[in-house]
């Protein structure tokens, strides 16, 4: 049975911002993205870095034309990543899965937002 723990007011977490708090003995980052909230344990599965405290970056894509020729690179803003600030491991912001190997994933927590308050289910 999970407990919904209030972490901050909704208006304290602006678009793109991160809140890091310790619930019990677990440090959790809550990230506002596209209006929603995503909560992950603030430990990277690679070497343990504070993964929620890094930057968010879009997926980088190579653009190849119909003849197989390289054209340029671009950002795909529809696929934002959480980037661990220690080594650059990248995870899909929506799922917490590593962008190459989904078996490597962040510990995810459900987030509930109601009546102007953000709760993390733990």
């Amino acid at each position: 049975m999970s407990e919904q723990v209030p972490v901050c007011r909704s208006d304290e977490l602006k678009e793109g911002a991160v809140r890091v708090c310790t619930i019990g003995d677990v440090e959790i980052g809550i990230i506002r993205h596209n209006g929603g909230c995503h909560a992950y344990k603030n430990v990277c599965p690679h070497q343990g870095g504070p993964v929620c405290e890094g930057v968010r970056m879009p997926q980088v894509e190579d653009v190849i034309d119909e003849n197989g020729l390289f054209v340029c690179q671009k950002f795909n803003e529809n696929d934002m990543h959480i980037v661990c600030p220690w080594h650059g491991y990248e995870f899909h912001i929506e799922s917490g899965e590593h962008v190459i190997d989904p078996k490597v994933r962040l510990k995810k927590y459900d987030v509930v937002e109601r009546e102007g308050q953000i709760y993390v289910a733990i």
Partner: protein, 413 residues
């Protein structure tokens, strides 16, 4: 009901190495790193932040003016090629550490070194510069020599002499000028904190050139290890064919050391200088089994090409030393275990973090390996380096404090 503590708005915090590395400190606590000495054989500082101080140490007044005017950053006195090692902002400590606040004393570089060392539970670190490693590729040899002398003097005077024995260095040798290398060993070989000398691998002089034999003999006589620190340069003709940092780094950091190791062996330098200790830094480990197999196979057919060798090349390679970072560990622990066996890691492997660089390794990369026993972990994390460099047993003040709180004898376990 669960309690919420430490509620932080990350965007409003200034950068602090201790906070950035708090998870490393937690690893140290859960693994009892306080119980033994950890030596980091390859760590870096950003001497660019003190470059105006270093430039004052340049003897040549004309070069000194050039260095002070032009600086050391991209486009500066010795720069060769562009880089995006910082991963365009993904590794936050690169841009943010410049604004990190430190007290007026001791020197900023000492404070910053201690902060990350304490977080990683590293007791002693061998520090190297960062951009100044690349002066080896400067086409003006007198500039390389002048900067090497200035940096070495500055480091000894301002860092190594003035701290409590936790900071060491293998000093930079300007390999493009063999006579200058000899002079630097004579002048700096007995300075406090100097535990050996280091050659950056991206040079274009053969290590078996007769011009270096006096240098090797001097180092052997003084029992000072010689290290080859890996690097890359996009100016290398073959590596200039790459277009992404990952490619030039993955190849460059192994290629140049593979080349020097091959020449070192084929020309019989282990037989000519049998007591000279050689350390290979920051090439990872995967290249070593590859080269062992490659050279052993060819040597058995063409031993006349390497007549000074009395044993197969891998036997000599197993007697050399290797730093651990960046340790390849993706998806194949079996290969890593075999690698450890092939290089005799229990006695020859030296932990290194390479902090603060993008591919740094924490002590847990060694400590968590399931195929090592506790003694092997401790030897790789510190004991092997302590023996190689004749280091006194040294524990960080924080370890002493925590041990005292736990009622543990202050001597290292």
């Amino acid at each position: 009901m669960l309690k919420v503590t430490g509620n932080r708005d990350v965007a409003n915090e200034g950068f602090n190495s201790s906070v950035h590395l708090k998870n490393a400190a937690a690893q140290g606590e859960s693994r009892n790193y306080d119980d033994f000495m950890i030596v980091d054989v390859d760590a870096h500082h950003y001497e660019t932040e003190a470059f105006s101080e270093i430039a004052d140490y340049i003897d040549d007044p004309v070069l000194r003016r050039e260095a002070k005017f032009q600086g050391m950053a991209r486009g500066g006195i010795a720069s060769m090629d562009g880089s995006y090692q910082e991963m365009t902002g993904r590794i936050t400590r690169y841009p943010e550490r410049r604004g990190e606040k430190v007290p007026p004393q001791p020197h900023r570089d000492i404070t910053l070194m201690y902060r990350w060392m304490d977080a990683l539970r590293v007791d002693v670190a061998c520090m190297f510069p960062t951009p100044m490693l690349n002066i080896v590729t400067c086409p003006r040899i007198e500039v390389e020599v002048a900067l090497a002398r200035a940096y070495n003097r500055w480091l000894c005077d301002n860092i190594l002499e003035s701290e409590n024995g936790r900071l060491k260095s293998m000093l930079y040798l300007p390999f493009n000028d063999p006579a200058a290398c000899i002079d630097i060993v004579e002048k700096f070989g007995s300075r406090k904190g100097v535990i050996g000398f280091m050659v950056v691998a991206t040079h274009y002089r053969s290590v078996h050139d007769n011009a270096y034999m006096k240098l090797y003999a001097m180092l052997q006589e003084r029992n000072l290890p010689l290290a080859f620190h890996a690097a890359y340069t996009w100016s290398d003709k073959q590596l200039s064919l790459t277009n992404r940092f990952m490619a030039v780094h993955a190849l460059g950091f192994t290629w140049h050391n593979m080349l020097h190791m091959t020449n070192w062996l084929v020309n019989g330098l282990p037989e000519r200088f049998p007591k000279l200790k050689v350390v290979w830094i920051e090439s990872g480990l995967a290249w070593v089994p590859f080269l062992m197999q490659r050279l052993d196979n060819e040597f058995m057919m063409r031993s006349s090409d390497a007549p000074l060798l009395k044993r197969i090349p891998s036997d000599y390679m197993r007697e050399m030393y290797y730093t651990s970072q960046p340790m390849e560990m993706v998806n194949n622990p079996k290969a890593l275990e075999v690698t450890f066996e092939m290089i005799n890691a229990k006695t020859q492997l030296l932990y290194s973090s390479d902090y603060p660089h993008w591919d740094m390794d924490l002590p847990s990369t060694i400590y968590d390996l399931p195929f090592l026993d506790e003694q092997a972990k401790r030897d790789i994390l510190g004991g092997n380096a302590q023996r190689l460099f004749n280091l006194e047993t040294t524990l960080a003040p924080g370890k002493h404090e925590r041990r005292a709180q736990r009622g543990v004898n202050a001597a290292a376990g």
